[in-house]
């Protein structure tokens, strides 16, 4: 499934990193601890977090994460947005909390 399909089905807002939207999603990962994501997330996954610090882009780039969903309507910081655009890693926003959006993403990917 492509990120664009996920955006449509889960009603996500594209906050930045538009150039990376054609990426293919291979699964999902949920964590707010960046060291945990560095250790355990896999290439091509979509990552759900409430962190908005610029380090999330560095971690996503290191692990070849396809996109990041930021929960609860949080606004990423300016330098996070800039790095998302230069690294072509889309930041997607939702008003939902992590539990709800992860559940919906799981159901969506299961149908494939």
């Amino acid at each position: 499934m492509k990120i664009t399909d996920i955006i449509q089905h889960l009603d996500l807002k594209v906050l930045s990193g538009q150039n990376g939207l054609s990426n293919e999603i291979k699964g999902g990962y949920v964590s707010d601890l960046l060291s945990d994501v560095m250790g355990n997330a896999k290439e091509g996954e979509i990552w759900i977090t409430l962190q908005t610090h610029q380090n999330i882009i560095a971690v996503a780039s290191l692990k070849d994460i396809a996109a990041i969903i930021i929960v609860k309507g949080a606004d990423p910081e300016k330098d996070t947005i800039e790095k998302s655009n230069t690294e072509n890693i889309p930041l997607l926003g939702t008003e939902l909390d992590t539990f709800t959006i992860a559940g919906r993403l799981f159901e969506l990917l299961k149908k494939e």
Binding site: L33, L34, T52, H53, N55, V59
Partner: protein, 245 residues
């Protein structure tokens, strides 16, 4: 002159601070331990700094007045300010940004301010252990706008440290120094983390009990005990510097 500093001490106002950590006793203990400079850093509050500063001055001990702030990423930072004006502005910032979640003393401990006779004069109702509503970069910009010192606390800990929450130190990180806990030495830490090479490293006790005051310290080569001299020593300016023990 070479001065011995322990820049990370909690008082009875911190919910986790021992009830013995009154201003009078902290100053007595600092004197006993031969400290020339102490930093008062309660969680998200500066309310005990002034009294401790007055009491310490009488004993010839200089107080760095500040707080240990928890950002929304749940990373702890030490912030210090030079005078009452900037300290008050910082206290207003903390009051505005600490969430309206009340402390339960039976779970977290008491958050009380006491006077020089150890009488309670104020109880902080909001839970000081919470994260404020500001990010690391927002805090950094505000502290520096008040010409304060901005130091990530105990970066070698597995809880509430920049490494535990953010995985690594951001490349353009504008900290004045890094703090390591008493469990590590600056040399060992720097050899394990080459990326911190450009930063000054201070080591403090993070004392919550009287006996821990001075359990770790940092030596400063300065001309006199003052905020600006400590500032210069931490930044390595004009011949002032940190001396690694």
């Amino acid at each position: 002159m070479l001065l011995k500093a322990d820049l990370h001490i909690h008082t009875v106002l911190s919910p986790c601070g021992d009830l013995d950590m009154s201003p009078v006793r902290i100053v007595e203990e600092a004197e006993k331990k031969g400290l020339d400079i102490i930093g008062i850093t309660d969680h998200n509050t500066t309310r005990h700094c002034r009294l401790i500063s007055e009491l310490a001055n009488d004993k010839g001990i200089f107080v760095m007045q500040g707080a240990e702030v928890t950002t929304k990423e749940e990373v702890h930072f030490l912030a210090f300010f030079e005078n009452n004006d900037t300290l008050n502005k910082f206290q207003e910032f903390l009051d505005e940004n600490l969430p309206e979640i009340m402390n339960d003393p039976s779970k977290f401990g008491y958050q009380v301010e006491v006077d020089r006779d150890e009488m309670i004069i104020y109880e902080e109702k909001k839970l000081l252990l919470n994260a404020i509503k500001k990010s690391i970069s927002e805090l950094e910009i505000f502290v520096h706008s008040l010409k304060g010192l901005f130091i990530p606390a105990h970066i070698d800990r597995k809880k509430n440290s920049i490494y535990s929450q953010l995985g690594f130190i951001p490349s353009d990180f504008n900290a004045d120094a890094l703090e390591i806990s008493r469990a590590n030495s600056p040399e060992v830490f720097k050899s394990l983390h080459p990326e911190v090479k450009g930063f000054s490293v201070v080591r403090n006790s993070d004392a919550h009990r009287l006996e821990d005051i001075g359990a770790a310290s940092t030596m400063l080569q300065v001309e006199k005990p003052s905020f600006s001299e400590v500032f210069m020593a931490i930044k390595g300016l004009k011949g002032r510097k940190l001396i690694t023990e």
